[in-house]
């Protein structure tokens, strides 16, 4: 049986449907990422799997139990790294780890947890003396102290500087090699590509795509992107677009054409430009990046 099975999960907040019929599974030992913009319903879905929230409808099974009713026996087997969760400022790192560790049946040895999270040298410092990135590492350490079979990581690197992100990624990769099943949320494409075996793209509470990062890219692998500045004579361009095989969109004074026939479309474009004495400013011809795939899937409203 898979570690996580979600079928038709729905969560309403009043009239707002935050999670809208989500279904997916996570196999043992897999690192799966829920990717989506802010407000897509990722955290709500994960908090339901953690047992922090009740669901409106649907089936959820995590480690063979229903998180809503699993109680202490269920929470004994999971580790949770929440977004923005405080740590007792009065305690040292070692004290905090020992305190939370005492709640679990099995614990991962303290030295090992400190080592994994790079906190060995800070172990006797009070938590309020530490930087934001160091605190996030304590969050991770507290998620690991109970030697979980399944670890939830809710936006593990939001707010990190680039080098701290790399370190966090190394830690997660280290956990994967130890066989821990991980379900993480992120709104960074590069993070998901670096860490996840499988990606579930979520938008407006719905699953819009899933697969390995390569599979996702393959969806528009034969597409080429042609971009250039909006020419001064816009009306004539509109007429031209009817002749192109690709589809054109305009935003921020840039025209973007997605085409599977780049040679023909480029020829028609440049031909038109020369005839009308127009310049195709900052003309680019590129392959789509994973970021483009993602923006495509979520309808380009990443910056909400």
């Amino acid at each position: 049986m898979p570690t996580v099975v979600v079928e038709n999960l729905v969560k309403d907040y009043g009239t707002l449907r935050a999670v809208d019929g989500l279904s997916f599974t996570v196999e043992q030992g897999e690192v799966v990422a829920l990717l989506g913009p802010n407000g897509a319903g990722k955290s709500t879905a994960v908090e339901i799997l953690e047992g922090h929230r009740t669901r409106t409808s649907g089936q959820v099974t995590v480690l063979g139990a229903d998180p809503a009713t699993g109680g202490a026996a269920f929470r004994d087997r999971i580790g949770i790294v929440l977004q923005e969760c405080g740590i007792e400022r009065e305690l040292t790192i070692t004290e905090a780890l020992n305190h939370y560790g005492a709640c679990y049946t099995r614990t991962r040895p303290l030295d090992e947890v400190l080592e994994l999270t790079g906190l060995t040298d800070l172990a006797d410092r009070r938590t309020h003396q530490l930087s934001g990135g160091q605190k996030r590492r304590i969050d991770l350490a507290l998620g690991l102290i109970g030697d979980p079979e399944l670890l939830f990581l809710d936006e593990p690197t939001t707010g990190f500087d680039p080098s701290a992100r790399r370190q966090a990624w190394d830690m997660v990769r280290g956990l994967r090699t130890l066989g821990t099943t991980i379900l993480l949320t992120s709104h960074y494409m590069d993070e998901v590509e670096a860490l996840a075996d499988r990606v579930l793209v979520i938008n407006q509470g719905k699953l819009v795509a899933q697969g390995t990062p390569d599979e996702l890219r393959a969806g528009i692998a034969d597409t080429t992107l042609v971009r250039f500045d909006q020419p001064a004579n816009g009306g004539t361009v509109q007429e031209l677009f009817g002749d192109l095989t690709g589809t054109a969109t305009a935003a921020n004074n840039r025209i973007e054409i997605r085409t599977t026939n780049p040679t023909g479309d480029l020829h028609r474009l440049t031909d038109w430009a020369l005839k009308h004495d127009q310049e195709l400013g900052h003309l680019e011809v590129t392959r789509p990046t994973l970021e483009d795939v993602y923006l495509d899937l979520i309808g380009g409203d990443e910056n909400e």
């Binding site: 922090h52 202490a72 026996a73 740590i87 007792e88 679990y104 049946t105």
Partner: protein, 271 residues
């Protein structure tokens, strides 16, 4: 396969953990212990002995030290539990705890247990200073009623502290709410000044409604040099217990483990 840790061990851990957090929190220690002690020393300097009959004098501290011991105990439970629980909720510590296998009642038991330990320490400190510095007297025959009255009082005020944390919507509003409810009532409750003889009607009413005067009077009964017969005050104890039940109900209905959405503490935590 290892066994799950026993409830008793978990509870002991939780009490130790809350006590440790308290000891390292200078503000909490000041308001809970130093504040009542300051009043005790201040009153000691202001008031002298009371002549109860020609040639028979009783230390004035005999009348106010037990009341200040109750004040310290109420600060350690009602004020301290209310504020520290609201702050822990704001900081996400309660939410983090809910994600561990620790049963919620053991967390709450740790909060209350720690409050009672602190209350006993604070009250013992006031009474010890009272005995050593001002010569108050205690009839050891009253030990059992004094302890039972005290335990009922701190248990009820612990539940009221949990109720306070339940209705305070943030860790910043909790201290204001605690002081705004405790201090006015304390003035009507034989804590700082004696309102035993003919208080204004409204002041008497204030004292009679809320449980602080009941606690102070019931505890003082065990120290009253003029008292004859049983030192138990059943009606006062019932009033204290009724408020404890009310506190438990508010806690049961209103308490949440998660910080209020968009509460003021998000910025605070990003210090």
């Amino acid at each position: 396969m290892n066994k799950r840790p026993s409830s008793l061990k978990l509870l002991a851990n939780q009490i130790g953990y809350q006590n440790r957090r308290f000891r390292r929190n200078v503000m909490a220690a000041f308001f809970t212990l130093a504040f009542p002690l300051m009043f005790l020393l201040l009153f000691g300097a202001l008031f002298e002995g009371v002549d109860i009959a020609p040639g028979v004098e009783v230390a004035a501290a005999q009348f106010y030290a037990p009341g200040l011991a109750v004040f310290a105990a109420v600060s350690a439970t009602y004020t301290n539990i209310g504020i520290s629980t609201a702050i822990s909720r704001d900081e996400g510590i309660l939410k983090r705890t809910r994600g561990t296998p620790l049963p919620p009642w053991i967390y709450v038991g740790g909060v209350v247990g720690s409050g009672i330990v602190l209350a006993a320490f604070g009250a013992a400190l006031m009474l010890t200073v009272g005995v050593l510095a001002y010569g108050i007297e205690f009839d050891w025959a009253n030990l059992v009623p004094a302890v039972l009255t005290f335990v009922l009082g701190v248990a009820s005020f612990s539940l009221l502290g949990l109720a306070l944390a339940s209705v305070a919507n943030s860790g910043q509003s909790a201290p204001a709410l605690a002081q705004a409810t405790l201090l006015p009532v304390a003035f009507a409750s034989n804590i700082f000044i004696s309102v035993r003889n003919d208080p204004p009607a409204w002041l008497g009413l204030l004292g009679d409604i809320f449980p602080l005067k009941a606690f102070a009077d019931a505890f003082f009964a065990c120290f009253d040099p003029f008292r004859q017969g049983s030192v138990y005050e059943p009606w006062l104890l019932l009033r204290i217990a009724a408020w404890g039940v009310l506190g438990a109900l508010v806690f049961w209905r209103k308490f949440t483990w998660e910080p209020a959405v968009g509460g003021p503490t998000r910025s605070r935590r990003r210090r």
